[in-house]
Subunit: 564 residues, 2 copies
């Protein structure tokens, strides 16, 4: 044995930031302002929480459901559970009660830590969660008078108060479980992915390489991506390791409040889905002088494709570099990052460089250690020519090997995870997403990318949001339909959208219809919910224009919506 066989445990990483930067702050947004504590205090409180959990009979490998917004207590929960060898079971607060019930019972979580303001969402489950013995309630300003029918409820502060601030983290196998996250469940029951210490340790190291997001201890990080879903893209672990200043928005994720928080706290790096960045952009446009975001240098956007028009605005208006990442619950979740383009040494240019706009529109290159390939239907790898489109498959040390208590071998091919996403890889090894398989439009034996259409439509002045979905067609199988949200005062209609799309798309790729709507429904993780859009169209009896009989009434999707 030449070298030490130190196990790759998260407990070896999460103490580091507080040691290096003990006085750096963790800031949590509250009703009236912010709540602040230091990294040292956060770590000490995590140790006390570990004692309290240990005393509540939570041991190595036990699942603890965490039903919380991004805040300092959520961060403490990550630290305590990782250190003591218990499992952080992410509970998405936006899921319907029946899904939460399924997930908690499937995971057999023994305890739930929940924010008081969303305790009501769990109330319908009182008496339906047989494994849950205790609920620890984290109370923020304005929710001191909580009550619940859930068993063994106790205030978070009362729970940790009696305990000392040093817990001896136990030795563990590096493949011991660390986390459990269920996929949003587009079809069938939600499926759980069980993260391990080794996998998340390697994921944490990989996401901290310069070429991912250049994350540094000198950053002030605002993780808007919920920590209740897919480990908040790994940001909590990375920031605990590095000792960054952290700014956590809690439940205050409306765009104005986010912009204000980022400005007040001097945020340099923020993470979130494109819909968040659309909202912040609109707030900034509405109040041009209100938010000083001059310290903001990078935005990491993922979960769905980054519209180039959005990236252009952030570069040109704020001097901010947008970085697209791609990944999924099954990949811990970070897999690829759009390629770094060296910025000129001078301050950001007024016009975003073409090279940058090209790169940020791609999902990008795989993090070191991970392999991404595109395969045809017979599982033959396709060439990396920027043309050949197929099923995206992934393997590597932070990719799941099976689902929790529900292996689902059909989702794997050998050691490759079949992602359900469709795309191509170019000569620079950049992954370019076409779509989720189920969101592609299959027309006449060809595929039409709804993402490409959406991005192009978004670049049309006056269009605030665009969503393209497939609609059934007896001859072509499917045809695309575009839904658009139009900016106030703008008058964009089908004619303009189609004319604009003709600049780039072939006639057969154009949407058959363009519908003006007031809003696009979002999923629990903030992406456009195309499943809901398709269901709405179906419920409204929507028909493609060439299938309508003369005089038939057009569907109405939502108040004020209609064919543009």
């Amino acid at each position: 044995m030449g070298m030490q066989r130190t196990p790759l445990l998260m407990s070896r990483l999460i103490e580091r930031g507080a040691a290096l930067s003990p006085d750096t702050e963790v800031v949590t947004a509250t009703e009236t302002g912010t709540r602040r504590q230091t990294n040292r205090e956060t770590l000490r409180r995590a140790h006390r929480l570990a004692h309290a959990l240990d005393n509540a009979d939570i041991g190595i490998g036990d699942r603890v459901g965490v039903f919380m917004w991004n805040g300092s207590r959520h961060l403490e929960t990550y630290g305590a559970l990782a250190g003591m060898g218990a499992v952080v079971h992410n509970l998405n607060v936006r899921l319907p009660p029946k899904d939460i019930e399924y997930i908690v019972n499937h995971a057999r979580s023994k305890l739930i830590i929940a924010d008081a303001d969303i305790l009501g969402l769990l109330e319908p489950l009182a008496g339906r969660l047989p494994t849950v013995e205790k609920v620890v309630v984290a109370v923020e300003e304005g929710f001191e008078d909580w009550s619940t029918g859930l068993p063994g409820a106790i205030d978070y502060e009362d729970f940790i108060a009696p305990w000392p601030d040093r817990f001896e983290w136990p030795p563990l196998s590096e493949t011991a479980p660390l986390g459990l996250c269920y996929t949003s469940g587009t079809t069938g029951d939600p499926k759980g992915v069980e993260y391990e210490h080794r996998s998340q340790y390697l994921h944490t190291m990989a996401m901290c390489v310069t070429d991912a997001m250049a994350l540094s201890a000198t950053d002030t990080v605002c993780g808007i991506v919920p920590m209740f879903h897919v480990m908040g893209w790994g940001m909590p672990w990375a920031t605990l390791m590095l000792g960054c200043k952290q700014v956590l928005p809690h439940r205050f994720t409306n765009p104005q409040r986010l912009a204000r928080l980022m400005a007040d706290e001097g945020v340099t790096l923020a993470t979130g889905v494109p819909t968040i960045w659309q909202g912040v952009m609109e707030s900034c446009k509405d109040h041009p002088e209100a938010y000083d975001l001059s310290l903001l240098s990078r935005i990491v956007s993922g979960g769905s494709a980054v519209p180039p028009s959005l990236a252009r605005w952030y570069w040109e208006a704020l001097g901010v570099e947008m970085i697209q990442e791609w990944g999924m619950t099954e990949t811990s979740p970070l897999a690829t990052f759009s390629r770094r383009v060296p910025r000129t040494a001078t301050p950001p240019s007024d016009t975003a460089p073409t090279e940058y706009l090209t790169e940020v529109a791609k999902a990008g290159q795989a993090l070191p250690g991970l392999e991404v390939e595109v395969f045809d239907k017979d599982f033959n790898p396709l060439p990396h020519d920027g043309q050949s489109t197929g099923e995206i498959m992934v393997r590597g040390p932070w990719v799941c090997a099976e689902y929790y208590r529900n292996p689902q071998p059909g989702n794997f091919h050998g050691d490759w995870l079949i992602t359900g996403d469709v795309g191509k890889i170019d000569r620079d090894e950049c992954l370019i997403l076409s779509d989720r398989s189920k969101d592609l439009v299959r027309s006449g034996g060809e595929w039409i990318s709804s993402v490409d259409l959406e991005n192009h439509i978004l670049a049309l002045a006056g269009v605030a949001k665009a969503c393209v979905v497939a609609q059934p067609h007896p001859k072509w199988e499917q045809r695309p339909v575009a839904l658009i949200v139009v900016e106030e005062g703008a008058s964009v209609g089908k004619t303009q959208v189609i004319a604009h799309c003709l600049d780039r798309f072939a006639k057969w790729q154009l949407p058959d219809d363009v519908l003006r709507v007031e809003s696009i429904p979002l999923t629990s993780t903030g992406k456009m919910d195309k499943k809901a859009v398709r269901a709405d169209l179906s419920a409204a009896g929507y028909l493609l224009p060439d299938l309508r009989t003369p005089g038939s009434r057009q569907c109405v999707l939502s108040p004020g919506a209609g064919s543009a």
Copy 2:
């Protein structure tokens, strides 16, 4: 099993750079200019070399001695051996023949790959290396007519010519050996450290985190640190993984040539010991307009302490950030990096910020995953107060567990490696080196840091180099003596040096003597060779001033040297 158990093999990292940046160049300095090939060609040639080695009966775990300067063929050797599971056995070309003989025989290397220009250094060993069956000779311009008495000699190009450019890297255990490097051997026989795939994989990931040196695929890297020693600080692995442009100086390491090479190739990041940077600085001062180093942004310096005056010059004259690293053969070798200090958004200031100069003088913070502590003589950990000085000890997944075929348990305490370096840790978790244990001056029961004295003396105008060593004293045990190299035309003497030192040091810490010398001898890895300095003083019959009898002659160290 929740997550994939992908073994951490270097073969999974070293192919990445060539895939991401196939057309990016590997540039090797030659007698008359440079030799250039792409990353893609480098990787293909590595695969061909693997075939040739396989055909020469080199298998998994076999040691291959590599006796080469930094160049593209050396890089190919790293790639081939790592991929095929053989062992890169670093042979330091500056070691005396008897050490090379010991090392090759102790490692039982089966084959040696050597540069033709230094083949002569191996000739005395012909017939004395029983395990070596073959010598592969890499020929650069001007050395085409090589010959050797070593067995089975073949030209590198002839060796790889017949083979295809795709070798199927075999599956390996992640703890399979990857490299073997012997410590320079200050006392006793050289000791070998056997690196493993897992340890170097984790080391590679850690050195690529932003807070180490912000290494990126967008960098043009000049690794001046020899790849024949301690894996060239891991730079070859990191650059293969990232796909950086690489500039390799081969045997042309005189300061003028290095400055020219870095300027011509647009180097952004370079690595080397402080003596290299002293030399490059002097070249730049001598020829102020000769070298355009405007693209150079970071210098990583290690192996011995970074004098703050040097860091100040690079910042103020070139706008270059110097980063100190500390490590050793036993730590793969990178362990700590001086703390990042956020640079102002504006171009480098004319005056280096105090905070930066303070940080760069420290060895810095441990890379994530590694633990560094300071212990007293009874192995009690000392507080991190910036005051308590003791033995530096290290543990973690890229720290050696024992020496190769020579365990030396006395160098370990539990799983801690006893480094032989002495230092302290401050409240920011920054390691501050005092000295190698053997280089500290023990005077009257107290320790005097030779490094602190040297750094202070170097800040005196007119002093080009400074070296402080201990000399025996019957009353105080030891007393410090300073050797200085004075810049041409400057007249610095003992009086000025002592007066200057009084600004900062107590009287008992002042050197008892200041000797002007023409040069300071260097070790095989480019550090000041204090062992040689002490031996020279002893051989010259040097006595401390208060031990001299009246009228005794002062020692002369080298032509022109003498008491200043």
